[in-house]
Symmetry: C2
Subunit: 329 residues, 2 copies
Amino acid sequence: MVTGGEFELINRLREVLGPPPDGVYRSIGDDAAVLVPPVNKLLFSCDMLVEGVHFRLDFSTPFELGWKALAVNVSDMAAMAGTPRYALVALGVSAADRPFSFYEEIYRGLAGAARRYGVAVVGGDTVRTRGPLVIDVAIMGEADRPIMRCGGRPGDLIAVTGSLGASTAGLEWFLRHRRRLGSPPVERAVLAHQMPEARVREARAAAATGGVTSMIDISDGLAGDLGHLCEQSGAGAVLDAGAIPLDEDAVELARQLGANPMEWALHGGEDYELLMTVAADRAPAVGEAVATCGTSFHLIGRMTAGETGITLRFADRTVPITRGGYTHF
Amino acid sequence: MVTGGEFELINRLREVLGPPPDGVYRSIGDDAAVLVPPVNKLLFSCDMLVEGVHFRLDFSTPFELGWKALAVNVSDMAAMAGTPRYALVALGVSAADRPFSFYEEIYRGLAGAARRYGVAVVGGDTVRTRGPLVIDVAIMGEADRPIMRCGGRPGDLIAVTGSLGASTAGLEWFLRHRRRLGSPPVERAVLAHQMPEARVREARAAAATGGVTSMIDISDGLAGDLGHLCEQSGAGAVLDAGAIPLDEDAVELARQLGANPMEWALHGGEDYELLMTVAADRAPAVGEAVATCGTSFHLIGRMTAGETGITLRFADRTVPITRGGYTHF
């Protein structure tokens, strides 16, 4: 049980967050936050993280946990080509004997990510639980023209930002060695897992070209999340294995661990890169828009007619891959 | 562990909820819901409920749990004189071996309360936990002129809607007898605990008079929540004990259980009635507005100058009461 009660923790959150930005009439401390409504379409989503399921406190620092809890929600806004605005943080404080400073560090991580992405944390709830630590962030954003999962069409090209596999590489390295320090590739991979980058600017720039037909962020792995796009778009997909941007650090750690980095990219999850389908003739424009943000852009396959699943094409063979991906559930 | 996975549960939620209402472009099934933004000021809050802390499944049915999880959030909107619009439901599914139908019943309760209050449940998250069942609802609403906790002034009258103590009476009766059936007072008190009424119409009608200076919903007990109003308004309060509307069923159950119904009203909590301060000359108009909704309205005291705490005045004596109230934390 934490030292100090619910109200003290909430007050501490308010202090850590600092004064609320413009657009916030009333923040923590009332029955609800009072906010200026956005002009564009409103986006609304949440992600709940549970200790021992989504994170482990022998691996993540409380600061990183707070950061990630917000960043993965920001990533959901990015996946809609939206701009994140306001967040609420509900914290289920576990019975484990953790000092007050432990929770302050979670809040510091939340506040850090909030500043990074221009989000105002405007309230939340702090409750006691007899079980594992639980953190649920609800986020509200806006988008002029949100990109859904359902707009992919046969013939559209499939594209991904950045590189894949580093997040799982960092986790797997920790699970094998039970420490997170090591060579630069190890430390970069661990950081990719703990403090993923939400691709907000990239998504908006890509969407602004008018060439993006569907989009999702990669939380379940490329296979699983492409499966969602295919299912909701009523299409299949063919991926060119050689074009999938495996993260260099993931390749190196896979070598050290005797693992397959392609498996991590397909089924590992938590890379939080953008996966999108783009109109074939607009692909260069979308690629340039993403590159303008300093992020790489990779065409990795094509949507196909009919719900025929996902096929992975290597130089010498073609294999169907399952849609399941990596699921926390 | 529940039978069936995350996606199956979310699909089931979608079915239970039925087609989304106007104003919802995109609901469950994407990275975020896409919604028409409100014109008025936006309200945003959440409440997390944890099994064994906020509810017990030998007392609440899963339907009631779902209903209450939404209703207490709607009550936060009411406390701001707002109209609830959209909600997200994050469910931490415990390892306990519960059938799929158990979670469906939670969703049915959520859907029932959503219909009752005109709220669209537009998404959420379903995750696994090794601990107790957790349900966190985030709610968004709007208000033309939200009423805060901080506007009470010395001389304002203190008013409360409905009656107090029934919710705690129902819980205490269960804790003593370990069953929830009984005489009509028992069953009404249990229902007050399990399916509290959120005073949305009453709050809006009261606020529309322009006479309400501060408001809160009674979740922690009259003493605790009046303490919040006093603290944020920089004022004290004197309550007239004889004017506090003790619930008739609470009085009857207190007699049977040898308890003090005034204690339940002051420190029991979860009545979800409105507690407000009103300009003395507008009190009749506010009372009439609440009465128009078919709900009783009671002037129970007066705000005083200085942060002097809360005093309870009986016919023969005056006692200070603590602000603590009933806290779940």
